[in-house]
């Protein structure tokens, strides 16, 4: 569904993303993890049209979307959320979600109705007529999700949708994301909350210093020494193995 080939981006002298290639197949939940500053959000920005890549291509459903205008990419069915939540503060929750619905629906009444449905799916139904500015952090994250969902996406890019949530709230979101995938939406997510990554995703890419250093199933990734070193420093894998008597290391 999504094929990224050799994507690169530099800011001044810094290579934020360096020749990254990855692939997301339809109907899967794929996770992109890596230490802070690895370039994950930059990668998302390039895929969704918010940044122009210096090199490489992005193909979505077989169509080359590299450098396409951001609002057009949404029309094609690729939608992203933001790491720093960006609600339409002056509008109600319903009106917020309706903007997403309007990607597919022209009539105001239909969009508002769809908004109510989507709100149900993310457990925001009770706050439908509240100003978005009044939501808690958890509520705003779910609003981001709801807006993206309302566009009826084929591929959903979730950027740290679980950051800053309590374990209970995180669990709620995990269920919601699973339900979203089960309804036919492919998901590519950036996440730091490891328990969520391990439980949700079927495939994991690890990004470090702008490059993919590992790729595979969650359990394999967790044991991969390169991944451990990316998070904990050079030689950490060996030290940990020695200290624990060759016990496989667990994810951060």
């Amino acid at each position: 569904m999504l094929r990224v080939s050799g994507l690169s981006k530099s800011f001044g002298g810094l290579r934020a993303v360096d020749g990254v290639s990855l692939q997301v197949d339809e109907g899967r939940i794929v996770a992109l993890i890596g230490p802070n500053g690895a370039g994950k959000t930059t990668l998302f920005a390039m895929i969704s049209g918010f940044l122009r890549p210096d090199g490489g291509t992005v193909a979505f459903l077989g169509v080359d979307i590299t450098g396409l205008a951001r609002h057009r990419i949404c029309d094609l069915g690729l939608v992203r959320t933001f790491q720093l939540v960006q609600p339409f503060a002056g509008l109600t929750v319903r009106e917020n979600i309706a903007i997403g619905a309007h990607v597919r629906l022209a009539r105001r009444r239909d969009a508002l109705a769809r908004a109510a449905e989507v709100a149900q799916r993310v457990h925001l139904a009770r706050q439908l007529d509240e100003p978005a500015a009044r939501l808690t952090v958890a509520g705003r994250k779910r609003l981001e999700l709801a807006r993206a969902l309302a566009t009826q996406p084929k591929l959903l890019l979730l950027d740290e949708v679980m950051a800053g949530l309590t374990p209970t709230e995180t669990e709620e979101v995990v269920q919601i994301v699973r339900a979203i995938r089960d309804s036919g939406v492919t998901v590519l997510l950036i996440e730091h909350v490891m328990q969520a990554v391990m439980r949700l995703s079927e495939q994991v890419y690890v990004l470090s210093d702008g490059q993919i250093i590992a790729e595979g199933r969650p359990a394999d990734i967790a044991a991969d020494p390169k991944v451990i070193e990316a998070y904990l420093g050079r030689g950490a894998a060996a030290r940990m193995a020695a200290a624990a008597g060759t016990e496989p290391a667990r994810g951060r």
């Binding site: 029309d75 002056g90 509008l91 807006r147």
Partner: protein, 326 residues
């Protein structure tokens, strides 16, 4: 919704009956001006309130419409009603060009406000020096009374035209609030990046808003010329029209349907009262406008309408509605 419709119908009936009830030429004139500036404010509101781009140079559109009307009548003898179409087109064009430049280069907030001011100042100086506008002396349109010529002997004619224009501007605002275009416009106002991520072409929407705003203001220019028979660079492109259009909208409530009209009524009542009390002292009413603006910004940032809604909400009336400027 049912209650609103009944209130609206009553208000409309009352408005239509006004010239029959009110005999005083002075009051009819005042009401006409209230309606006109409600209309002009409404045209500002489309760009300022709904799209969230504050223009300090709304006169650029208004003045262009006024001059187009006057010039076409004087040089080609066109019928004033016909010139109104050209005036609207003129205003729309100025909006399109200035909007394209400003938005293409990413100007927002204060920078956008300043550049709109600069544009209208450029036009003002051009109008002062150009031959076609008769420079600083201005243009006078020929007297030729009659409905077909958009000139009325009594005040009632102008009142009804202003009323019609006001209704159009209210309808335009209402349509915006209940359409996908308007929802997307407001999304751009709240957060441009998030809107784009949700498929909204922000540049296109802002450009559409400024063009509509310009078109309406241009037509407003025609009305003004027909009512006052005269236009010069200061009237057309000076700060007075720009300031008044934004004042009525902000005081009444940006991003609302009735805000500009309400603001215009309040502002003109205040202005008129002070003129009566202080015997035509120059400038005092504008001082009060400035004070009113600051008071509104401080205590009622959503304008009078916003304040009324908050009050209604606290007392338990009406349904919950989002604030327009957050």
């Amino acid at each position: 919704m049912g209650r609103n419709a009944v209130v609206g119908a009553l208000a409309l009936g009352l408005a239509l009956a006004v010239p029959l009830i009110v005999q005083s030429g002075f009051w009819l004139n005042l009401l006409t001006l209230m309606l006109f500036f409600g209309y002009l404010g409404g045209s500002w509101n489309i760009l300022g309130g709904y799209a969230g781009q504050f223009s300090f140079g709304h006169a650029a559109f208004f003045g262009t419409g006024a001059y187009v009307t006057a010039i076409l009548q004087l040089s080609l003898g066109l019928n004033p009603w016909v010139t109104m179409l050209f005036a609207a087109a003129g205003g729309a064009s100025v909006g399109l060009v200035t909007g394209f430049l400003s938005f293409r280069y990413g100007l927002r907030g204060s920078y956008f406000a300043l550049i709109t001011l600069a544009f209208s100042e450029v036009l003002r100086v051009l109008a002062t020096t150009a031959k076609i506008t008769n420079g600083g002396q201005g243009l006078v349109i020929p007297l030729r009374t009659g409905l077909g010529n958009f000139q009325f002997a009594g005040k009632a004619g102008y009142y009804y035209v202003a009323l019609a224009m006001t209704l159009i501007s209210l309808a335009a605002a209402w349509c915006i609030e209940h359409s996908r275009f308007g929802a997307r416009l407001m999304a751009v106002r709240e957060n441009e990046d998030a809107a784009e991520a949700l498929g909204v072409n922000a540049f296109g929407h802002k450009l559409a808003a400024i063009t509509i705003s310009g078109m309406m203001a241009g037509a407003g220019g025609t009305f003004y010329v027909q009512m006052f028979f005269y236009v010069d660079p200061a009237i057309a492109y000076g700060p007075a029209m720009s300031v008044e259009s934004l004042l009525v909208s902000i005081i009444g409530g940006m991003g609302t349907v009735a805000g500009p009209l309400l603001g215009s009524i309040v502002l003109h009542l205040v202005g008129d009262l002070t003129r009566k009390v202080l015997a035509n002292a120059p400038g005092i009413s504008l001082v009060l406008y400035g004070v009113l603006l600051i008071l509104i910004l401080r205590y009622l940032p959503n304008g009078l309408i916003g304040g009324a809604r908050a009050l209604a909400g606290r007392v338990g009336l009406g349904t919950a509605r989002s604030g327009s400027t957050g």
